[in-house]
Every structure is written in C-alpha cells, then in structure tokens.
Amino acid sequence: MSKLDKELEEFRNVMQVPDSFEDGFKLSSFVGTLFIALVMIPGTLYMELVAGMGVGAAAQWVTVILFIEVVKRMNQKLSRAQIFLLFYMAGAITAQSVHGTPLFTQFLVRSEAAISSGISTLIPSWVAPIDPAAYAGRTFFRPEWIPVLALIAFKMLMSRVDNMVLSFGLFRVTNDIERLPFPLAPIGAQGVMALAEDLEERKDEQSHLRWRIFAIGGALGMVFGFLYMGWPTLTGALFGKPYSILPIPFTDFTPYTKNVLPAVATGLSFDLGQFILGMVMPFFAMVGTFIGLIVTFVANPLLYKFHVLRTWQPGQTTVETLFNNNIDLYFSLTIGISLAVAAFGIIQLVRHARSKDPDAMPVSEVHVKARGNMPGKFIVFFYFISMIVYILVCGWLIHWHKGVMVVLLFFGFIYTPLFSYVTARLEGLAGQVVEIPFITQIAFILSGYQGVAIWFLPIPKANYGMMTVFYKQAELTGTSFWSIWKADFFLFPIIILSVVCFSSFIWGIAEIPSGMYPYAQQIWDFEARNACLVYSSTLGEYSQFYEALSGVKVAIGFGLGMLMFAALSVVGAPILLIYGVVRGLNQTLPHVVIPQILGALVGRYYFAKRFGSMKWRTWVPILSAGYFCGAGLVATFCIGIVFLTKASSKLPF
C-alpha cells in the first residue's frame, strides 16, 4: 500500500460509520432553535453593527452544551443525532449576517458613495426602494419593502433547498461511489461525539478519553483565545485602544522583504488555531501546500523580474501584493489549475467507476436507505428545475438581457456543477474548497450589461461541494438525513421571520449607520465605496478585471496543473500531496501555511510517535473541536462585554 493509500485509509478509520441512523429532529431541538433565534439572531446582528463581530460558531457550542447540561440534570439523554442536529441548526441560525438583511442595502442606496457616483438611482427597487418615504419610520414593514423582502426570502429558500438536494447528490458521488475520506469531517463530528458521550455511560477508556481531550482542547482554546482575541477586545472596549499580545491577524513582513523576495507576500500568523489545524489536516496535503508556497516564493521574484508580475510595487503590504499578483497572473492561472483539478477529478472518477477494488465499491443500498436517500433521477431533475427557476427569475428582473442570460446559463449549467464537483472532491480528499476569484465580476463585465442591477441578482452560482462535509459528519454521527431535511423545513420560516423582524427592530432603534452603531459608522462607508467601485465596472467604464483575464494564462495554468498531476502520479506521490500543492499555488494566505506545516510536523513526528498514529489521528480532531469551541466561547464572552460597554453610551449629543 502506498503512502497515499495509508494516509487515506487512516482518515477513513478515524470514525466509523454507525450501523443505524436516528431521527435527530425532536421537540427539544425545535425549542433549542427557537431559543437561539430569539437570543442569538438579534445578538449577532447587533454585535456586528456595534463591534464588527458576530457570535459565530461559539453560539453553536453554547446552545448545545447548555442543552446537554439541562438534559443531564433531567436524567435523560440526547442522542448523537439530536446533538448533531441541534449543532447544525444553531450554526445555520448564527450564520446570519447584517449583509444578508436589507440593513446594508438601505444604507447603500442612500450612501454618499452611491449618490456621488450616480449609482443610487440605478439600484433597482427590489434591492432597496428609492422613495424617501420608505425610510421615514425606519421599518421594513412597509409596502415599498415587500419586493426586497420577497427577493431575500427567495434567495434564502432556494439556497437552502439547493444545498439540501444538490449537495446530497454530490455526497452520494464522492462518499458512496468514490469513497473519499473527508479528513476534516471528524472535527465537527468528533466534538459532537465527545459531548454525546458525556451523557452516556463511560463504557470504555476510549469514550472517557474523548471528553478528556475535548476538555483539554477547550481549556487551551480559552486560554489562548483570551490572550489572542479576548485581551485586545476587552482593552479596546475598556480603554479605547486595543492592546494585542500577539499581532492579529498576522504580522506582515512584506514591506521589509521587498528586496529579498520581491512580489512575495511574507508574514506570519500567530494563531494557535492554525497550528492545530495543521495537525488535523492530512500530512501530505500540508507538505504539498508548503511546497506550493515555496514555489511561489521562488517563482514570484523571477516573474517580477521578467515583468509578468508588473503591478506590484516595493513596500506594498500582503493584501496589496496578493491583489496585484492576482490581477497580473494568479487570477487566470488559478482558473486554469482549477480546470485541471476538475479534469483530474473526472479522470479519477472514471477510473474508480471501472475499478474492481472492493474499497471503491459503492456502499450498500440498505445503508443508504437507512441513512436517508433521494433518488438520483430526482436530484438531476431538481437540479435542472432549480437552475431554470433561478434563470427565469433573474431574466425577468434584468429584462431578459441577452448577455446576462448567457452568463446565467454559464453559471447554472457549467460553472456551478463543475466547481461544486471539484470542491466536493477536494473536500473529500484534503478538506479544501476551490473557488475562482472574481469570476462573477468577469462574467458580469463580459456580459455587456450596462447598469448595476446585475450585481444584486440571485444568480445560479453556488458551490454545493462544501456541504458534502456536513453530510459526511451527519453520517458519522448516525443522523438520519431525513431529520436534517425536516429541520431545514422548520428552520427556514424561523430564520426568515427572525431576520426580518430583528433587522427592522434594530433599524428602529437608530439610523444605521449612526453613533449608536460605531462599527458600521466607521466601516460601512468604506464598504459602500468599494462596492460602488465594483458596480461601476458594468457602467461602461474601465475595469481592472479586463486586464486580469487572459486566455493564454488560463491555458498555461491548465497545462501546468495537468503536467503536475501526471508527473506526481507517475512517481507515485500521494494524492493529498498533489492537492496540497494546488492549494499552495492558489495564493491562499501564505502566513497561515507556516504555523500549519509546523503543526503537521509536530503532530506527525512527535505526538503520532508518542501516542501511536491511529490514536493520534482519532484524538486530534477532538482536540481541534475543543480548541475552537473554547476560543469561540471566550470571544463570545468578550464580545458580549464590548457590546455592553458600547451600548451604554448612546446619545450622540
């Protein structure tokens, strides 16, 4: 067995899929959902406006752990499936952001940036009404806002249903047919398992260890989270100036390495979470990523010397460097490499389909039926119907503009299925997501459309591959998929109603942005200016995106990608290494790669040796889940205090 297979096999064995599946949607879950909606949605929206940070993932843990504690004191049990579903629903609710509500658009349409650039009058009434009367009472419960709310509801409903059905289809392919390991899936699943085991009899040493590791991770996360995030947050709130013990989000060396490594973004992240993530990720994927990073370290100075990377200027920061390099080369190159990943995936899929290896055989129909299933034909049929609905709605909103219709067809029938599949494979193999940056902008510009309405369309562009991990986690925790779909059915009205009602309530408190919402007041104008800059690209003015797209560079990227796949396959390199290299080349923030590779090395050469490879592979996702739970809890606690301090000074004069 090659290294490749060994590591994949290790991941496959981290958690075993249970024999039976349970319906996790119970009344308690529903009460939990209502509780989160009532407390967490207004909290997260308000916090974002006041402090620029939501309660995020920590709210999931808060909800689940509190519920478990209550249930424990009732001498009752929550099954793994119930806990997992509660976790999922909490996540779906707390994922709401003010940008998904009409709060931002009501500002955008009246912002200085939109008015001065003439965009304000071009924004359609289904994004934000123009009539000043619509803003008089600062409420969304007016007739002028009905189209806006209807469109938001449409987007939310479609994306939920799409994700549910189409992601399941991709999961069937990557998990049941291709038998990919989904290395990051156990992180969430193992955390839930640890929590579930607190309710169960500690049958063996293994189940006891899960809680121990989760608790250690949690304590580690709390301590580090306090030092890294909590202290600056609290000092910022209490003394007006944040005092950071470690630089956040990273320390940027790029301006100082301009002579040694021109056009290379250098820096270092001190986030312990990245180090732990490096331990969780497949080792060869991390090595590949590091190699990819080293390649950019060597190639970028040469490319700069030969004027391929032309825009970069000495002294620029990481963000500027990455942006300029993207425009000059990596934007097109990534498209090419992503195409190669897709092509390689398809080749692999075909190979697997022909393979007689017992491991590569599809899982049993009994298992699939017990887990919850949708017929393949239904999924394909649904996909076509869904895309057609998107395209028809968008076409109607955009008055059937021909160029836009072509773009919609491209997204609906080429881009979305292709990249969803590529992502599903990458998630399955290396826990990675692939996206082509600025593809939407390029497509819109090339459509020949003149106006800004196109930017607000509910276009059929999505990446359904990401949710395959979630299905894998559900499978590992023995959660019946039917209960997930049932939960989604109940979630949608709760979320949409909560979001609209609480947005309106928050807007009713004071104008947004205004002194009541200091973060929005400080940042939203900048965001509006950036947005207007992007929107202006479809007003017939010059756009940098024209410059970024080059067929030749796309072809080079594709060629390089295929060549790399072929070469590495010939020498028998691990498949995770190949995907890792692609990730490293993709200009993902380089500063996190170093702590990640350090984590991977420490994990493999210290902990794995000390505890045994298989044990370590089982423990580290739990440690990671505990860590992120602890860090998130401390962040939420500190943000709550910020929230409290900012809320007590409210009158502007």
Binding site: G218, C629, A647
Partner: protein, 857 residues
C-alpha cells in the same frame, strides 16, 4: 504630518442621521473661525467644546442641522444659535423626565434661569436704547448655564441605564429565589420554566415602569448582551470544570467521590437546604419577606440619595487685611476665554471695577513648535550695553488693580502714574544688574520698547499670593511638568494633567527673572490673559452673591473675599442624602427583625441543625444555610420592594392623570435608588452574622469550631478525631480510604503521597474482614522538604456498643519537626474531609465499599 497639530477633526455630524461624516473633514481654527470642508450640500451639526449647533426646534429637539448657504453662514451667530439649541434640547429632555414624574430641582432652576437670561438678552436688544453688548453678555453666560444643565441631564439618562443594569443583575437571584420559595420544582425543565417565568415577569414590570426603557433604547440591547454574556459564561464555567476534573483524573485523583468537589457540593446543598427550610415555615417566611419588602419600600420613599448640581461654597480663610474682591482664573492660570471677560464687563461693569492680568510666559499646553521658538525669544535686551537676559515671564497688571490691592500697591508704588516715553517695565534688582540698566533707560523685549521704570522687591513678589493661595507670579510650566513627572500628549491631556495638581505642586516663575509691565503694553506681543479681578465699587456690594452667580457659569472655582472671609465657589455635583436620619430607625428595625427571626430559628431548628450536622454538614455549612436564608430575604426584599415602589408611583401617577390627586415627586429610577436597596440588602446580610456564627457553633456543641491538632511528643503525634464512627461503617471506610490513598500512590502531586499501604491487626469473622488498622508510609507536601512519616489509623471502642472513636498515630521519619507539624495540618484536614464525604455517600456506595473490605479477609 505637521498639519495634524493644527488641523483637527471636529465633531461635525451629518444632520440627517447624527453620524459623523465618513471622509475626514478638515477644520482649521484660525482665530475665531472654523473652516470645514465637504464636497456635498448636506445638512450638518456641529459639536465642539461648549458649542452645540443642531438646528433644534420644539418639534425636533435633536435638530435637523444647517445647510451650507454661504449667506446664512456669513451671518451665523454661534452663541445665539448654540444657546437656542441647548435650551430647546434641555427643555425636551426635562419635559420627558417630568412626564415620568422625575424632577431635579437644581437643573430645573438653572434651566429657568437660562430662559430668564435669554429673555433679558432679547429685552436688551429690543429696548428703545438697544444694548447689543449686554445682550451678547447675557447670552454668553446663559450658554454656560445651559451647558451646565445639558451635561448632568445626559448623565441622568445614563444613570438610569446603569440602574437598570444593576436591577437586571439582581433579577437573576431574585427569580431563582422566588422559584425555589414559591414552587420548588424538582424537574429541571420546570425549574427553568419557573425561573424564566419570574425573570421575564420581573423584567416585564421593570420594562413598563422604569423610564430608562422609554428614554433610551439601549436597556433592551443591554439585556440582550447580558443574556449572551451569561450563557457563554455558564458554558465557559462548565468546560473549565470539566477540564479541572480531567486534570485531576490525569493526576490520579480522578475519583470525584474523594475530591473536595463533593465538599463544595455539600456547601451548595446547604444553600438549597436553607431555601427549602424557608418553605417548611411558609407563614413565618411569608411574613418576614413581606416585612422586608415593605421595609425597602418605606426606606425608598423616605430616603433619597439625590445628586444635584449646584455651587458649593467652601470657607478658606479669614483673609485679614485683604480687600473685598472676586478673583476669576483657571486653576492652571492659563488663558481665560475672551467671551468670559467681555460678558463680565457688560454685566458687572456698573458695580465692579473689572481688571485683568496678562502675561508672557512659556505655555506648555500650546503647540510645541511655537513654544520652542517662543522660549528662545523670552529675552530682555539692553540696546545700549547690548546685554541680554533670559527671563521666565512678564506679568501684565492693570493700574486699577494695583491701586486697589494693597499687596500689589506695596510691590509697585506709583505703578501707572509714570511718565515714560515708552511703556514702563519693572525689574528685580538682580535682573536689572545683569542687564546693566538704570531707571529711565530703554529695554527691548522682542520688537517692543519699554522704559525701565524701577525696581520691585523680588522677595515680596515671590510671596505675593492670590485669594486661592496661588502666586501672583505665573507658574513655570516646564519645571512643573518635570517636577511632577507629568507625561501627557496633546493639549487637552496636558491641560487636565496640570489641572489635577494642587497649588503646592506648581513650580512658580522666579521673581528675579520676572518683569512687570502694564497690561495694555503686552497686548501686541503674544500674551495670555489669565486672571480677572472684580473689585466692588461700593462697600455694601454683596460680593459672595455675585461670586456664586459667576461660579454657576464658570467651569473652575471662583474665589471671593467679603466681610466674612475668603470663600471658594465651585459649580459641581453635590450629593445629599435627604431623610438619612429618618431611615436609620427603619433600617435598624429591619435588621433587628431579620436578626431576631434567624436567632429564633436556631432555637426552633436545633434538632434540624443536629441532624444536618450528623449528615455531614460542617459548622461553616450550617452557617451558610443561615446566610442563604437571609440572602433570599435580602434579594426578595430588595427587588420586591423596588418593584412595589415603582408600581405604586405608576399607580399614583395614573390616579393623578385622572385628577384624583397630585402625583408625588418620587424618583425611584436613578442609580441612587438602587444604591438604597443595596444598603437594605447589606443590612440584612450583616444582621445574619451573629445568628450564623451561633448556628455554626450549635452544630458541634462543646467542640472547638476549628479542631486543633495536639502538640507532638518525641516525633510522635497521637490523637483521636472529634467524631465517632459506627463499627459497622468502619469496614466500608477501610476500602474508601484505601481507594483514596491509592489515588496518591507514587504521584508527587497534591498534599501527600502514600507508599506501602497495608492493613494490620485484622479482625475476621465468618470469612469476612470486619475491622483492621490502616498503616502506610506517607510523604507530605512540599516534597522538597523531605517530610516522611509512618501513619496508623485504628478504631477504639467507646462506652457505647457499636460506636468507635478514630485513633490516629503518626511517627516522623524525616524532615524538621516544625515543617512536619505544619504539613500534617493539611494531611489531617484532608483525612477528616474524607470522613465527612463518607457520611454523604449514597447507601449503595457504602454497601459497595463494605463488600470490598469484606473480601480483603
């Protein structure tokens, strides 16, 4: 970046939404003008220092802002507009408070005075002989008064928000106690529902009766933040507890049965037993709770800790030989605003001689770049001898002041009557000598010519003081900063740092290096006007009253000398506890009620206490039981009394609205009311101390509350524990202690380690071990002291059949005797705790341990 020091960002707001303008708006203060740059015609509001330009109207007190019409701006009267806006805004806020029955007399009075001054200003303008100077002076002082109303008025609303936060905090224990007392549900879901019901009910009452929820929207938000902090805090606590348990487990002390957690759980159980005990005596509990609620209500009605704004008058000195006068200056002796001088002249010029002092000196609060040059230029020059002398300051005086103030008159006889070709300049002898000038000679300062008019007595000048004890000489700010190690960046920061110093901390300019010149002669050099004196024209003038009126509009103390002496007048917040004497008796009664109630329950519950004691509650736990009881009374009394007060006021106001009565002026919404209920709660808790201690003692009659170990003899310690065990129990205890000692085997953590645990003197009956002595070799922490001992635990039969005493024998092997005895305190304490924990074990665990022991035969 040099511009940053002169260009600063003002509080310019967008009139539409009261938010700041997004892009930086430069505002350069050039003399009296502000220049603001903006690219679009948007309504604006301006907030800077004491100015509030809002465009207020009675319909929209917050204002709609002003446009950029250049004609309007050209005739913009900032003082008149700001005064109007302040007045309208203050009126709307006071009205909002009045509608909720909240009155602050000091602010109402001051607000009324502001209105009167505005009317006077209007009359001065519209009289047959218009006096615009007087009108402007009236408005300037009215503006200062309006600002003095505005600031505390905002504070009142903030104060209410703070009060609500504290009340919300108290609502949590209140809801918990109410659920326990009223329902005492056994199921956790019902407990949560009961708690949530009381919490939401209390919150609902507060929401409807507390004006903070109407005046500001933030209480709701605070509530939300509060819930998020609470929930995440609980989960953090849960996870950290888990972590601690796991760490203990990894250290080999994982068996929670043996841990002190069990002991802590016992303490928590004591609290719950205390609350449950109250339920067992419903009549007594109900009556006591009602008494405390009514007590709080009474105290809230009688007592009010009100903070009011007003001029505080403080006697300073008799001021013998000092002329009657008023002195106005900043504590730092830095510049006094021109508007103040102008207004005082216009308003009091007919009754007072108004004089001012100015000076040329190094002002550290000003721009550093200017000061570097300025300090270099602080030089007197003798043009004939070409001599230069670096001085520290020039003091400018008005002849009117020198003539009327004896100290200055003695210092500068003939000042103002000189006949010199250029303005006269007085120097110390030392300075004149260094400069080599003689009276009548010309002296140059920067571009200005002076005539050296004569000497002054430097020591007299050095001693000359103002009414507040500060010197006539200006401070040497550079030395002051060095001397006091002040480190402040920015003008305002340095200004406030200097302001915090007392007079003795200032380093004053050296009299020998100071020159004196007439006030008028310095106005065309860079000078600072820093001192105003009002000298009464008539000896019957009421100087104190004038000083008090001025102090109301001035942000610094005003000093006045009248026939009664020297007084300081300072506008500040004054706290007064009205009815404090009235509440002492109710407080005492309340405290005694709780005291007698709890003391009585010791007698009532003697048997109960013994039972608890026998069940394993230690004396502190029994005391905690009583504290829990009084804590419940305190919380219920505090929050309940507060809610009753608010509801009563609401009801009376409602009756008043129908014309049945006049609504009483009671404000229970401020922080001071919350402070009052906290006092009541503290009194209740304090009155528990004695009953709790007494109950703790009665839990273990005849035995010292803290059991003391006897002294060692020849490296040996032998004693009996102050409790007994049943013979039957001891079999189980053997295995229980065995397990506990096993947790400490070969692990150098915790308080001790155990080696060679063995059972000796076994008594076997029917093939089962019934009794044995426990022996072991024990090392005690701190382990680096090398303390080792032989441990033996056995039982000794007592007179009562089946009841044994526990005998412990320790023999030191190594370590010093002192450290051995000290280290044994923790070890023995741990051992005693194990016996306490043993008594709280469930029956099945006891049976399990007994079976284990029996098998050791």
């Amino acid at each position: 970046m040099q511009e940053n020091s002169v260009i600063y960002r003002p509080n310019l707001l967008n009139g539409a939404n009261d938010s700041g303008f997004p892009r930086a708006i430069g505002s350069t203060r050039l003399g009296e003008f502000s220049l603001n740059y903006y690219d679009r015609d948007t309504q604006w509001k301006y907030l800077l220092g004491g100015l509030r330009l809002l465009g207020s109207s009675p319909e929209k007190p917050g204002g709609e802002g002003f446009g950029y019409d250049r004609f309007d701006l050209a005739s913009f009267d900032t003082i008149r507009t700001s005064l109007h806006d302040y007045y309208v805004l203050n009126e709307s806020r006071l009205q909002a408070l009045r509608e909720r029955n909240i009155y602050n007399n000091s602010l109402e009075l001051m607000h009324a005075d502001t209105g009167a001054m505005i009317e006077e200003a209007m009359r001065a303008e519209t009289n047959t002989a218009p006096n615009p100077t007087l009108a402007r002076a009236q408005r300037t002082l009215a503006l200062a008064l309006a600002e003095h109303v505005y600031t505390p008025l905002r504070g009142i609303i903030d104060d209410m928000v703070k009060a609500v936060v504290i009340l919300l905090l108290l609502t949590i224990p209140f809801a918990f106690a109410m659920e326990r007392l009223v329902f005492n549900f056994t199921l956790i879901t019902r407990q949560i529902a009961g708690f949530a019901g009381f919490f939401l009910g209390t919150f609902g009452v507060l929401y409807f009766v507390h004006p903070a929820f109407r005046l500001a929207s933030t209480p709701m938000v605070i509530f939300l933040a509060f819930v998020i902090i609470l929930l995440s805090g609980i989960v953090v606590y849960l996870i950290m507890n888990k972590f601690r348990d796991e760490v203990k487990s990894m250290q080999g002390m994982g068996s929670t049965v043996h841990s002190r957690e069990a002991h802590r759980a016992t303490a928590m159980a004591a609290v719950l037993i205390g609350v449950s005990g109250m339920r067992n005596r419903p009549l007594k509990t109900g009556l006591t709770a009602i008494t405390v609620v009514l007590l709080t209500f009474t105290i809230l009605v009688f007592a009010s800790f009100t903070s009011k704004m007003g001029v505080r008058t403080t006697y300073r000195d008799r001021g013998a030989g000092v002329e009657n006068r008023i002195e106005i200056h900043k504590h730092t002796l830095l510049s006094v605003e021109k508007e103040v001088r102008e207004s005082l002249t216009a308003l009091y010029g007919d009754r007072y001689h108004l004089t001012a002092r100015n000076g040329v000196f190094y002002d550290i609060t000003k721009n550093l770049w200017n000061q570097v040059n300025f300090e270099r230029d602080l030089v007197l020059r003798n043009p004939t001898g070409n001599r230069l002398v670096q001085i520290e300051a020039i003091v400018g005086l008005m002849p009117g002041e020198v003539e009327r103030v004896a100290t200055l008159r003695a210092l500068l006889p003939g000042f103002g009557a000189e006949k010199t070709p250029s303005p006269p300049l007085y120097l110390s002898k030392a300075c004149a000598r260094d400069l080599r000038v003689a009276p009548g000679q010309e002296v140059l300062f920067q571009h200005k010519r002076f005539t050296f008019a004569g000497f002054f007595d430097a020591s007299r000048l050095q001693m000359a003081e103002n009414l507040d004890g500060s010197k006539v000489l200006p401070p040497n700010y550079k030395k002051t900063v060095q001397q006091n190690a002040l480190n402040a960046s920015g003008d305002n920061a340095m200004d406030s740092a200097l302001n915090n110093l007392d007079n003795n901390s200032f380093a004053w300019a050296t009299a020998d290096l100071t020159a004196i010149a007439p006030y008028d002669s310095l106005v065309d050099v860079e000078h600072v006007v820093n001192f105003i004196t009002l000298l009464p024209k008539s000896p019957t003038e009421n100087v104190g009253r004038t000083a008090e009126r001025i102090a109301r509009a001035f942000n610094y103390p005003v000093y006045a000398k009248d026939d009664a002496g020297i007084f300081q007048y300072f506008y500040t917040k004054t706290y007064s506890g009205s009815g404090m004497r009235d509440i002492l008796i109710p407080l005492l009664i309340g405290g005694l009620i709780i005291f007698s109630s709890l003391l009585g329950s010791i007698v009532d519950r003697e048997r109960e206490i013994f039972t608890f004691s026998a069940l394993g509650l230690s004396p502190p736990n029994v005391a905690a039981l009583f504290f829990a009881e009084s804590g419940v009374y305190a919380v219920i009394g505090g929050v309940g009394g507060y809610l009753v007060s608010q509801v009563v006021v609401k009801f009376l106001t409602l009756l008043a609205s129908f014309g049945f009565m006049t609504a009483p002026e009671m404000n229970f919404s401020s922080f001071s009311s919350v402070f009052t209920i906290l006092i009541v709660m503290t009194t209740i808790i304090l009155s528990t101390i004695y009953p709790a201690v007494k109950a703790g003692r009665s839990a273990n009659p005849g035995v010292n509350r803290a059991w003391k170990m006897p002294a060692p003899k020849n490296g040996k310690l032998s004693f009996k524990f102050p409790f007994t065990v049943s013979t039957q129990d001891f079999a189980g205890i053997i295995s229980f202690l065995h397990e506990h000692f096993d947790n400490h085997a070969d692990v150098a953590v915790g308080e001790f380690t155990v080696r060679d645990f063995r059972l000796t003197n076994k008594v076997v009956s029917g093939g089962k071990l019934e009794r044995a002595d426990i022996e072991a070799e024990v090392s005690l922490a701190p382990f680096d002291l090398g303390i080792g001992q032989h441990f033996r635990l056995s039982v000794v039969p007592t007179d009562l059949a089946g009841i044994d005493e526990v005998q412990v024998d320790l023999e030191k092997h190594s370590g010093t005797t002192t450290s051995w005895v000290r280290a044994n305190r923790d070890f023995i304490d741990d051992l005693r705790n194990q016996f306490l924990i043993w008594r709280s074990l469930p029956a099945e665990s006891v049976a399990k341990y007994r079976t284990q022991t029996e098998a050791l035969a």
